[in-house]
Symmetry: C2
Subunit: 138 residues, 2 copies
DNA sequence: TCAATCGTAACCACGAGAGTTACGTATTGT
DNA sequence: ACAATACGTAACTCTCGTGGTTACGATTGA
């Protein structure tokens, strides 16, 4: 099992979809690109559909299609749509209230540092679009 | 079970140790601060010992002590000593060589973005010392 | 009607990491 | 010496997150 594959799975299939904007690709086809399962694809793309990035059609000629211009879809949008958090926060659990001042201090310090790092990450992801990814395809 | 507790566990016990530089604190005592287990403490502090941050003594009056001035121990040093990677890379697994160009592109793009974000994180962690953490204790 | 396809629920498989037990070894106080 | 204390470590369990899989209902088009 590949861990943390949601994001790269999404980017990969979006890249392929950007190459064939007029076709509706089935979960089965998209799954093949990642050597994974149609259900996993549906799960993942379902989150993107909620954000209007892709659309799906049921039935005989159904499948998935981009809802936006691939040049307008940033990796940050995908990251957000998936609810990804590459930074593992959890500096201070919600259920374990700090017992001493040091724990609060640690929690706030780590929170600040992680937030800043993630801002940098997202800023970078905003600079790359699906179109740029698709352009690399052979 | 608290996840990702190694780092905050380490910072917490180091903070307490910094308050009592002359005492040797047992794993048992340190574990109590975090409501965890002595073995977990030994495991974690063992990594810090390898980097010369703390020292341990066995036997009757044994325990743990800081090996460095708490004002010299940065959170980044602890982060490194623990081998923590708050950013989950794994953009392209080592065992699954990219099948098409898009996968390589995704892998390198994510790698770059994650690396940059982590540099920012570490830079921040370098600005905070154990002494600063300990100063917050009540 | 029938085949293709998404939408979901439900469950399994696997791995990471903390929690726990157990035991060996080292050190110290008496 | 000897008992008590404490680390070092192995081995196991528990839990959680996540992907994989199966199953089935709903929808669409020929």
């Amino acid at each position: 099992m590949k861990r943390n594959s949601r994001f790269s799975l999404a980017l990969h299939v979006l890249g392929h979809m950007a190459r064939k904007p007029d076709e509706r690709l089935s979960s089965q086809q998209l799954a093949a690109f990642n050597q994974t399962n149609p259900v996993v694809v549906r799960r993942t793309l379902g989150l993107l559909r909620e954000q209007g990035i892709v659309s799906s059609e049921r039935g005989h000629a159904g499948g998935w299609q981009l809802s936006q211009d691939p040049a307008e879809i940033t990796l940050a949008a995908v990251y957000d749509a998936l609810g990804e958090r590459f930074l593992r926060p959890d500096p201070v659990g919600e259920d374990n209230p700090p017992h001493c001042a040091i724990e609060r201090k640690i929690g706030s310090t780590l929170s600040d540092a992680l937030s800043e790092a993630e801002q940098v990450l997202v800023r970078r992801l905003r600079e790359v679009t699906i179109a740029a990814i698709a352009a690399e395809m052979t």
